[in-house]
């Protein structure tokens, strides 16, 4: 057996284990010196990234990977934890790994002047490990554990600047929200375990009956995970957390939020896949409705913000609405093969593709806001102005992010939003009208920001502002180039990465059959 096969076979475990081990080695390495620590962290995540791509390339070719910790014997289903990687999980890990790698490259210069950096990097790696765990696991309780690991690490990172009262307050708000959410997820898991004696997602999905208790569990799971994903009306923690955290933390936080979003989709499509459309009002329509409210409220709130990072945070809320709209529209027709082929699969392609685009676009904007803060120590848009003179590259990156986030061609945001508009129009024209309207308002929001921060007369207090250091430019450049490539060749991405992920969600039977070979339902 050669080394590549070995890595591939153990990759689901390694993707979580390498950042986890790296996290606890970081304090030791930082005893040597700061540079060695930074290189060590980047190498750790680089290694993880290469394994993620190795695994993803195999999964996209059509193999579902399972990895059992503990008993390999199928007769004892509970004495083990199972990782199960289908194309959707692989898709999410690719997003997570890009964000994590960019974040540590950006951190090199951005966070240099702070103390306590060994803890900072330890927490970043822990958060990344937790995020990967949420995306890869095939076990409900394991999902809860990784959710808590991610919450604890990200809460400590949001409150990293403890000298600022508001950052600590945002961190406290985040930990209260995520702990309550996680406890209700645990309660729902207990409800499921009490009835079916199983914790494995595939095992549960094969026997689920949609009894009264199952409905309670479904509501608790969706509500708690949607709260963690920042859906209106449970979004109040998100602008604080995104706005107060250091910029490189925010970009991983986007990944952690999307891991919760992945949880919603996994619960709706896989765990309850067989039974979810037995209700008189489809859960899909509820997701669509939540998506619409999220879009409108997010954009409306973004219009009136005067703080750079809070403004981007509210537009990030709006962007999450698009994913709920696209995937929710797909969920309404789950189980109906004709409608799924006509509308559902392209709506879901748009929604799933938008998960990646949102991470890149909003991530880039947050990095630009961080760069502006680094150069000027100012985040209020009322006090900024004329920065395009001194920060050429940052301005270019901001324009790219601006066009991408508001869905303008030729950026990647356009590709996914067009898919959503087209398919939801056939479902109900109002859906796509609202989606286009909020997209236009997003453009208005960011044109305002562009004008007030980068254009205008040169302000005397920003006369000495310099372009930000190289590591931050490299990090922003990586994301910007991915955005442009995705925007120019959307077809390539959709057919190679997005469609396998969408098919993995739709054909939940394959996910179940990987563990329970005798299962017959599913598409």
């Amino acid at each position: 057996m050669n080394i590549v096969d070995f890595l591939l076979q153990h990759s689901p475990a390694l993707i979580v284990a390498i950042p986890l081990l790296g996290a606890f080695l970081t304090p030791l390495v930082s005893r040597l010196n700061d540079k060695a620590r930074n290189i060590f962290v980047i190498l750790t995540l680089g290694l993880t990234t290469s394994i993620v791509f190795l695994l993803a390339s195999d999964v996209f070719a059509g193999n579902i990977h399972t990895y059992a910790f503990g008993s390999q014997d199928l007769a004892l289903p509970i004495v083990r934890i199972l990782f199960e990687v289908d194309a959707m999980s692989a898709f999410m890990t690719i997003i997570g790994t890009i964000l994590a790698l960019v974040s540590v490259i950006y951190s090199w210069a951005f966070i240099k002047e702070n103390t306590g950096l060994d803890k900072y990097y330890t927490l970043i790696l822990l958060m990344t490990a937790g995020m990967f765990g949420m995306m890869l696991t095939g076990d409900m309780f394991n999902f809860f554990v990784f959710l808590e690991i991610t919450s604890i690490a990200s809460c400590a990172l949001i409150a990293f600047w403890t000298n600022k009262g508001k950052a600590v307050e945002a961190g406290f708000k985040y930990i209260v929200i995520s702990t309550i959410g996680a406890l209700f997820i645990l309660f729902a898991i207990a409800l499921l375990y009490g009835q079916y004696n199983a914790l494995n997602i595939a095992t549960l999905a094969s026997v689920i009956q949609f009894s009264f208790l199952d409905k309670i569990a479904l509501v608790l799971l969706i509500a708690a995970l949607a709260m963690k994903a920042g859906i209106v009306p449970m979004h109040m923690w998100l602008p604080d957390a995104y706005g107060r955290a250091p910029a490189p933390v925010t970009i991983i936080l986007i990944g952690a939020t999307q891991a919760s979003l992945y949880g919603v989709f996994r619960v709706c499509f896989t765990l309850y896949g067989n039974t979810i459309n037995l209700t008189p009002v489809s859960i899909g329509w509820i997701l669509v409705l939540l998506g619409l409210i999220t879009m409108l409220l997010g954009v409306a709130m973004a219009l009136i913000q005067s703080d750079f990072k809070r403004l981007i945070a509210f537009s990030a809320v709006a962007e999450i609405g698009y994913m709920f709209l696209g995937v929710g529209a797909g969920l309404t027709v789950l189980g109906n093969t004709e409608m799924m082929a006509a509308i559902g699969s392209s709506a879901m392609s748009g929604g799933v593709f938008h998960i990646m685009n949102d991470a890149l676009d909003v991530g880039l904007l947050f990095l630009v806001a961080g760069a502006v803060y680094y150069a000027t120590r100012e985040t209020s848009l009322d006090k900024l102005g004329g920065l395009a003179r001194n920060m050429k590259y940052t301005t270019v990156f901001f324009i790219i992010g601006l066009l991408a986030v508001s869905g303008m061609p030729p950026m990647n945001g356009f590709a996914s939003k067009l898919l959503i508009y087209e398919s939801t129009f056939q479902l109900n024209p109002i859906l796509s009208i609202v989606a286009i309207l909020s997209s236009i308002m997003l453009l208005a929001v960011f044109v305002k920001v562009f004008h007030s921060a980068f254009l205008g007369p040169a302000l005397p207090k920003f006369k000495d502002v310099k372009e930000v250091p190289k590591s931050m430019l490299i990090a922003m450049g990586i994301i910007a180039s991915i955005i442009i490539v995705f925007g120019l060749f959307p077809e390539l991405i959709v057919s190679n990465i997005v469609e396998p992920a969408v098919n993995a969600l739709i054909s939940y039977g394959d996910y179940i059959r990987e563990v329970i070979p005798t299962f017959t339902g599913g598409m």
């Binding site: 604890i152 409150a159 600022k164 406890l183 207990a190």
Partner: protein, 119 residues
């Protein structure tokens, strides 16, 4: 009825916890509310661990005539509860340390008074 008492206790603990989080103004009392919810969920898990007619899964003191392993309750909920308690301790410590920082900045624990003012 008597067998339902654990479930009634679970519901009471979770509701009291939610009441404390929503209506109490003091940060410490909110944290106590979260701890109450956690105890409620843990109690729920432990209660689920008992299956009718089965015995505790302790190999050395099994009653005679027990079939192994069908006659024993599976000890998974206990393992889940232990994990949940460990996570709860970490979260509790983190929340209390954040409260210390908040008190240093604002000089109060009243949720209505913190968060205002410039940085």
């Amino acid at each position: 009825m008597i067998f339902n008492i654990p479930f009634i206790a679970v519901a009471a603990l979770i509701l009291i916890g939610l009441y404390a989080i929503i209506f109490r103004r003091n940060l410490i009392k909110m944290v106590i509310g979260i701890t109450l919810i956690e105890s409620g969920v843990n109690l729920f898990l432990i209660t689920l661990g008992y299956r009718e007619g089965s015995v505790a899964p302790i190999f050395t003191s099994l009653p005679t005539g027990t079939t192994v392993p069908e006659g024993m309750a599976f000890p998974v909920p206990q393992a889940l509860t232990l994990t949940s308690i460990v996570i709860g301790v970490a979260v509790l410590a983190l929340m209390l340390s954040l409260i210390i920082h908040i008190y240093r900045h604002y000089g109060t624990l009243d949720v209505r008074k913190i968060g205002g003012g410039e940085e």
